[in-house]
C-alpha cells in the first residue's frame, strides 16, 4: 500500500512538472505546427473564393507546377534573391564597421550606441512610410541631398522606376537592419580577449592584419549565426513592400512573401498562395537547420 501511494506521489509530481509546459506545447502545436502542415495541404488544393465554403479539392503538385511557368513568380524569386543578398551585404558590412567603432570607449559612446538602435525598433510600417517620403522623386530629401552634393543633376524616381524601386526598399531595409548586425557583432567582439590583440601588436601586426588574421576567424561562429539569421529575416520581409510599392512598378519589387499575400488575400487563390509560401518555407527550413547546427556548436544546452 505504501509503495502504491509512493508511486502515486511520484506520478503526481511528474504531472505537476509537466503542467508547467503543457499549455505552451499545446499552443505551439495548435497555432504553429498544425498551421504549417495545414498550409502544405492547402498548397495541394485549389481552394479559392468560389469553393471557399465547401472546401477546395485535391490537385496534387499542380500549384507548384504552375509556379514554374508563372513569370511573376520567377520575377519574385529573382527579386527576393537580389533583395536578400544586397540587404545582408550592406547591413552586415556597415553593422560590422559600427561594431568595431563602438568596441572602443569614447565620450558619448553609450548614448550614441543606444541612439543607433532606434531604426531597428520602429514599426516597419512607420519605416516604410517614412522612406516613401524620403525617397519621393520631386520633393524627397534624399534627392535634394544628392543634388546638393552634386552627385546627380536630375531627380531620381526611386520608387516609381522599375529599375530602382527594389533598391529603394533595400535602402529602407538596410537602415532597419544595421543596428541588429551591429549589436550582435559588438557582443561577439566584446567576448574576445584583450591580451590576444596586445600580443599580436607586440609581434608587429598592423591593425588590418589583426582584423583579418585574428578578429575574423575568432568571430566566425557569431558571423555565421548572424548571416543565417539575416537570410531568415530578410526573406520574410512583407511590410515594407506593402507600404512602399505593393510589388510594383511592373512587379519589380514583387518579393515572395508579398506575392503569396497577393495571391491569397487579393485574388483569394489560397492554394497558389500557400504553394508560394511553401517554397519560402522549404528555404527557411534548410536555413534554420544550418542555424541550429551553428548554435549547437557554439554552445550550450544549459
Amino acid at each position: 500500500m505504501s509503495r502504491f501511494s509512493k508511486g502515486l506521489k511520484v506520478a503526481w509530481g511528474t504531472i505537476i512538472d509537466y503542467s508547467f509546459i503543457v499549455p505552451t506545447v499545446l499552443f505551439i502545436i495548435a497555432f504553429m505546427i498544425y498551421p504549417v502542415l495545414y498550409n502544405i495541404w492547402l498548397s495541394m488544393t485549389d481552394l479559392n473564393v468560389m469553393n471557399f465554403r465547401i472546401g477546395g479539392s485535391w490537385v496534387g503538385l499542380a500549384n507548384y507546377k504552375q509556379l514554374l511557368s508563372d513569370d511573376i513568380f520567377k520575377a519574385a524569386f529573382v527579386n527576393t534573391l537580389v533583395f536578400v543578398f544586397a540587404c545582408i551585404f550592406f547591413q552586415f558590412t556597415i553593422g560590422f564597421a559600427l561594431a568595431v567603432l563602438f568596441n572602443n570607449r569614447f565620450p558619448g559612446s553609450n548614448i550614441m550606441r543606444a541612439t543607433l538602435m532606434i531604426s531597428w525598433m520602429l514599426p516597419k510600417v512607420v519605416a516604410g512610410t517614412l522612406f516613401r517620403w524620403i525617397l519621393s522623386g520631386d520633393f524627397g530629401i534624399l534627392n535634394q541631398f544628392l543634388r546638393g552634393a552634386g552627385l546627380i543633376s536630375q531627380n531620381i524616381l526611386w520608387l516609381s522606376s522599375s529599375q530602382l524601386a527594389l533598391w529603394g526598399i533595400i535602402i529602407a531595409n538596410v537602415w532597419i537592419g544595421i543596428p541588429f548586425n551591429m549589436i550582435i557583432l559588438l557582443g561577439g567582439l566584446q567576448t574576445l580577449s584583450e591580451e590576444l590583440f596586445e600580443a599580436a601588436k607586440i609581434d608587429g601586426a598592423g591593425p588590418w592584419q589583426v582584423f583579418v588574421k585574428i578578429t575574423l576567424p575568432l568571430l566566425r561562429p557569431t558571423i555565421m549565426i548572424l548571416l543565417i539569421l539575416g537570410f531568415i529575416y530578410t526573406s520574410k520581409v512583407f511590410d515594407l513592400v506593402h507600404v512602399m510599392t505593393q510589388g510594383g512598378p511592373l512587379n519589380s519589387t514583387q518579393l515572395l512573401p508579398y506575392y503569396s499575400y497577393v495571391q491569397s488575400f487579393q485574388f483569394f487563390n489560397f492554394g497558389k498562395g500557400a504553394a508560394i509560401s511553401g517554397v519560402i518555407f522549404v528555404f527557411l527550413i534548410v536555413l534554420s537547420g544550418l542555424y541550429l547546427r551553428e548554435t549547437q556548436k557554439e554552445d550550450i544546452m544549459g
Partner: protein, 278 residues
C-alpha cells in the same frame, strides 16, 4: 601616449557623431515634417529646420478628427494582451526547461528554435481559415493568439538563462518550508527573475505593436484594426499630406521610443541572448 590616445578618442567620437546623425536623420525628418505647414513641406531647397513650426497636423488628426483613437486603442489592447498572454505561457515553460526534470527537454528546445523561424506568411492563411470557423477573425483574442506565434518561442529562449542563473538549492529550501512546486515558482522564482520578465514583456509588446500582416488579414472591419493597418489606410487617404502622415507615424512610434528609452540596456542584452546564446 596619453595625448595620442586622447586624439584617438576624439576622432572616434567624431566618427560616431556623424554615423548617428546619418542613422537618426530619418526619425528627425519624420518629426520635422510633422510640424511643418503644408507650404514648407514642398519648399525648395527643403527646410531642415521649419520656419513656422505648427502643431496643425496633430490638431487635425488627434483633436478635430478622432479616427485614429480607435486604431490606437486596438493596438494597445492587442499589444498589451499578447504581452500578458505570452509572458503567462512563457514564464512557467522557461522555468521548467531550466530547472525541472522534464523528458525530451532537448527536443523541446530544438523545436522552439525551429518554430521561432516560421514566417508569419506561412501561418497566416491557415490561421485565417481556422479563425474564420472559430469566430476569431475581427476579434482581439484572435489577433493576440496570432501575435503570440511571433514572440512566444523567442521569449521562452530569452527568459531561460535568467532562471538558469538563479542559485541552486532555492527549490529545496522552499520545499522544506512547505512550498508546492507552483508555489515555489510563483513566490520564489518569479520575483527573482523580474528583470528578465520586464525584458521579454517589452519584446512581446514591441513585436505586437509593429505587426502588420496579421493586422490586415485577420481583421476586415476597420473598427477592429490596429494602428499599423491604420497607417496603411492613411497613406491612400492623405496622399501628399505628408505632415499628417508623419504626425500619425510619429505618434505610433512614441510607445516604442518610450519603452526603448526606459529599457535600452535590457533590450540590447536580450537581443544578443536571444540570437546567439541559446
Amino acid at each position: 601616449m596619453s595625448a595620442r590616445s586622447k586624439r584617438r578618442s576624439i576622432a572616434f567620437c567624431l566618427v560616431g557623431v556623424v554615423c548617428c546623425l546619418i542613422m537618426f536623420f530619418p526619425v528627425y525628418w519624420m518629426f520635422i515634417t510633422s510640424i511643418k505647414p503644408m507650404g514648407e513641406i514642398y519648399h525648395k531647397p527643403p527646410l531642415l529646420i521649419p520656419k513656422n513650426p505648427t502643431l496643425k497636423a496633430y490638431v487635425d488628426n488627434f483633436i478635430k478628427s478622432r479616427d485614429v483613437y480607435n486604431y490606437f486603442r486596438n493596438s494597445c489592447i492587442v499589444a498589451l494582451g499578447s504581452m500578458a498572454f505570452v509572458v503567462i505561457l512563457a514564464a512557467p515553460t522557461s522555468y521548467a526547461l531550466s530547472r525541472l526534470k522534464i523528458r525530451g527537454k532537448t527536443l523541446i528546445m530544438l523545436t522552439l528554435l525551429m518554430v521561432q523561424m516560421f514566417p508569419s506568411i506561412v501561418l497566416v492563411t491557415p490561421l485565417y481559415i481556422t479563425f474564420g470557423r472559430l469566430g476569431l477573425n475581427n476579434n482581439y483574442f484572435g489577433l493576440i493568439l496570432a501575435n503570440a506565434t511571433i514572440s512566444l518561442p523567442f521569449v521562452i529562449l530569452v527568459l531561460r538563462p535568467y532562471f538558469l542563473g538563479l542559485p541552486k538549492g532555492l527549490e529545496d529550501a522552499a520545499a522544506i518550508d512547505g512550498c508546492s512546486k507552483w508555489g515555489t515558482f510563483w513566490r520564489v522564482m518569479l520575483p527573482l527573475t523580474k528583470p528578465g520578465l520586464v525584458t521579454v514583456a517589452a519584446f512581446s509588446f514591441l513585436f505586437a505593436w509593429g505587426e502588420l500582416l496579421f493586422a490586415t488579414t485577420l481583421t476586415s472591419k476597420e473598427s477592429m484594426r490596429p494602428i499599423t493597418a491604420g497607417i496603411y489606410r492613411f497613406i491612400g487617404q492623405f496622399q501628399v499630406e505628408w505632415n499628417s502622415l508623419m504626425a500619425v507615424s510619429f505618434a505610433a512610434s512614441l510607445p516604442i521610443i518610450i519603452v526603448f528609452i526606459a529599457l535600452q540596456n535590457q533590450i540590447v542584452s536580450g537581443i544578443t541572448a536571444g540570437a546567439v546564446k541559446q
